[in-house]
């Protein structure tokens, strides 16, 4: 009697998510092939926001690339600056000033807080908790952005860190302001966790969803919180001890399963560690030394006269999203001969299909959110 007949073999449905879709975190497109509601194939399509950063950088002085790195991962402009500054220092054999190093570490860790608050907020948004957790996170983030504005002049496009130090000294009273914000931050984290970590709905949506096996993560060169969520102890701050990270005491949080929940929770714990680094750095910062080394100052003043010796280098840092590296080749002129960015979100994204297979469409959105991508960096 039924008018609906079910075919013997079900037909596959191709579903196009994005590129103009709020939950794809920018202009990212996923072509999902569905069997019922289960994903059997997923093809990411990239490149909608390609801006030719690497080629443009080869046409201008080393310093002039800094404002463009702000626009790579626009949530973490400070750490993007830091990565390039470290690569240039390696290339030219420069040293950063003592105070400059401290300011950089403070900025980089504040950036980590900014990024992780934003990404956890957005992750919850993807799960359907519209607004509330995201806006609590943004409220906190805004306070840190105010600090960035006071120091660098801009909330997001900071363009602040330079080879040899930072572009300008901290304004008066900045350190006290920063101390107050850092001191209040754990309270926000407690509240945020109270809202989310034990929430049954969130646990159901994230536990054992999008599991990334450890082996696969290593083989695909996944880095950052995504790798550590699978239980690998790999943090470039510890491995390379770049800048002055060896002076601080902090731990590297790790997950066990490598699912979405682990990725969320690793980020929460990382924020707590960042707070501890910040407290130490804000207490130890030295007022006497200059904010930038004299050589760095000369370079910032006359970028075109800066000609690093012939050679090549790969400078990397632990950006909030993973390993951010800059490959620079110098031919002795004032422009880089080759300039390449190893963007963490791009490489972390390569694994998306493996994590999504067998899950439902709604889970794919959550898994994508937990990867923590920013399309400015993926497409460059």
């Amino acid at each position: 009697m039924s008018r609906i007949t079910i075919p013997e073999e079900s037909e596959l449905l191709e579903l196009n998510l994005g590129p103009q879709h709020p939950s794809t975190h920018g202009v990212f497109r996923m072509i999902a092939t569905l069997d019922g509601e289960t994903i059997v194939k997923l093809k990411p399509v990239l490149g909608y926001m390609h801006r030719n950063h690497e080629k443009i950088a080869e046409e201008m002085s080393y310093i002039a690339s800094f404002p463009y790195t702000d626009r790579l991962d626009y949530l973490c402009s400070m750490s993007n600056n830091l990565g390039l500054a470290i690569a240039i220092e390696q290339l030219a054999g420069l040293e950063a000033s003592e105070r400059g190093e401290y300011i950089r570490v403070i900025m980089a860790e504040l950036t980590r807080l900014v990024n992780h608050t934003a990404v956890t907020g957005f992750l919850l948004n993807d799960m359907g908790a519209f607004g509330t957790p995201l806006l609590y996170a943004f409220r906190e983030r805004e306070k840190i952005l105010d600090l960035f504005e006071a120091a660098s002049g801009s909330r997001m496009m900071c363009n602040y860190i330079r080879p040899g130090g930072v572009r300008a000294d901290l304004p008066e009273g900045w350190l006290d302001q920063a101390k107050a914000i850092v001191k209040a931050f754990p309270k926000f984290l407690d509240e945020f966790e109270g809202l989310l970590s034990e929430n049954e709905i969130i646990r159901q949506r994230t536990l054992n969803v999008g599991v990334l096996p450890q082996e696969l993560a290593i083989n695909a060169s996944i880095t950052g919180p995504m790798l550590r969520a699978t239980g690998v102890d790999y943090d470039i701050r510890k491995v390379d001890n770049y800048s002055i990270y060896d002076r601080f005491k902090y731990r590297v949080p790790m997950g066990q399963v490598g699912d979405v929940y682990d990725r969320y929770y690793v980020r929460i714990l990382e924020m707590r560690e960042s707070v501890s680094i910040l407290q130490q750095a804000l207490d130890d910062i030295n007022d006497a030394s200059p904010y930038i080394s004299p050589k760095g100052k000369a370079i910032a003043k006359a970028p075109r006269t800066f000609k690093p010796p012939k050679g090549e280098t790969y400078g990397r840092i632990e950006s909030p999203k993973g390993e951010l590296g800059y490959h620079l080749v110098s031919d002795g002129s004032n422009k880089p001969y080759k300039y390449h960015v190893r963007a963490p979100s791009f490489i972390n994204l390569t694994i998306l299909e493996d994590m999504c297979l067998g899950h439902k469409v709604a889970d794919a959105i959550v898994i994508l959110g937990s990867v923590d991508i920013v399309l400015g960096e993926v497409d460059r």
Binding site: P67, D146, G153, N159, E200, I201
Partner: protein, 224 residues
């Protein structure tokens, strides 16, 4: 216990909701909130958020006494260094192609910044050897077109040093301290040049006073 996590979350949301009202201080303290912590937005444009002194938006040109007396000498360093190449400068020249001077220095005939391309990076300010260009903090520049409306010309960009001192007192003081010795030197050089010119003018009245090679040399010396 199942359901407890959700209830706890709702409690936190409720507390934050209460925080958006202006209750007494003691009450907010009781529920563990700071006063005004829930009110974070302002009703722009009636109320404007206060921004930091360092806040930067678009660059502008600084003049000292009058708009004629601009600090820029049209050396084009900023034009070269600007990453998106949005500055266009031509130096004022006479018919023969030699740069004309005002107040003893060359100046731009045309100085355009396309603010729709400018990315507010502040590199032009960092590289200018004469402190002639600074960052403004006026962000209300919306207009109805993005062609000529967004291409700010020299006269639109020129703002007084006084204005700069008002928006960024700290930076202004630094710049003044840096410029003071230079100004004294320039004054002395100008006085010496004038004396020399007067001396030279005695035997031969028709010798032109401008285009003094020693003067141009001192300009360059300042730049380095």
């Amino acid at each position: 216990m199942t359901g407890f996590g959700v209830l706890r979350g709702m409690g936190i949301t409720l507390r934050q909701f209460i925080g958006t009202y202006r209750f007494g201080k003691w009450f907010l303290k009781l529920i563990g909130l700071d006063e005004g912590s829930g009110i974070t937005t302002v009703a722009y444009p009636e109320v404007k958020q206060k921004h930091a002194e360092n806040f930067r938006y678009f660059p502008f040109l600084v003049y000292d006494e009058s708009p004629e007396d601009m600090r820029c000498v049209a050396c084009k360093i900023c034009e070269q260094e600007c990453p998106p190449q949005c500055i266009h400068i031509t130096m004022e020249k006479d018919e023969k192609g030699a740069p004309t001077k005002k107040f003893g220095r060359t100046y731009p005939a045309q100085f355009d910044i396309d603010v729709s391309i400018c990315m507010s990076c502040r590199i032009c300010v960092d590289v200018c050897p004469f402190d002639a260009i600074e960052m403004d903090n006026d962000y209300e520049v919306a207009d109805y077109g993005r062609g000529p409306e967004m291409n700010f010309n020299r006269d639109k960009l020129l703002k007084s040093a006084e204005y700069f001192g008002k928006i960024k007192p700290t930076e202004h003081a630094e710049v003044e301290a840096r410029l003071e010795p230079k100004r004294a030197k320039a004054k002395a050089a100008a006085a010496a040049a004038a004396a020399k010119a007067a001396e030279a003018a005695k035997p031969a009245e028709d010798k032109p006073a401008d285009e003094d090679p020693s003067d141009a040399g001192s300009d360059k010396g300042d730049a380095s």
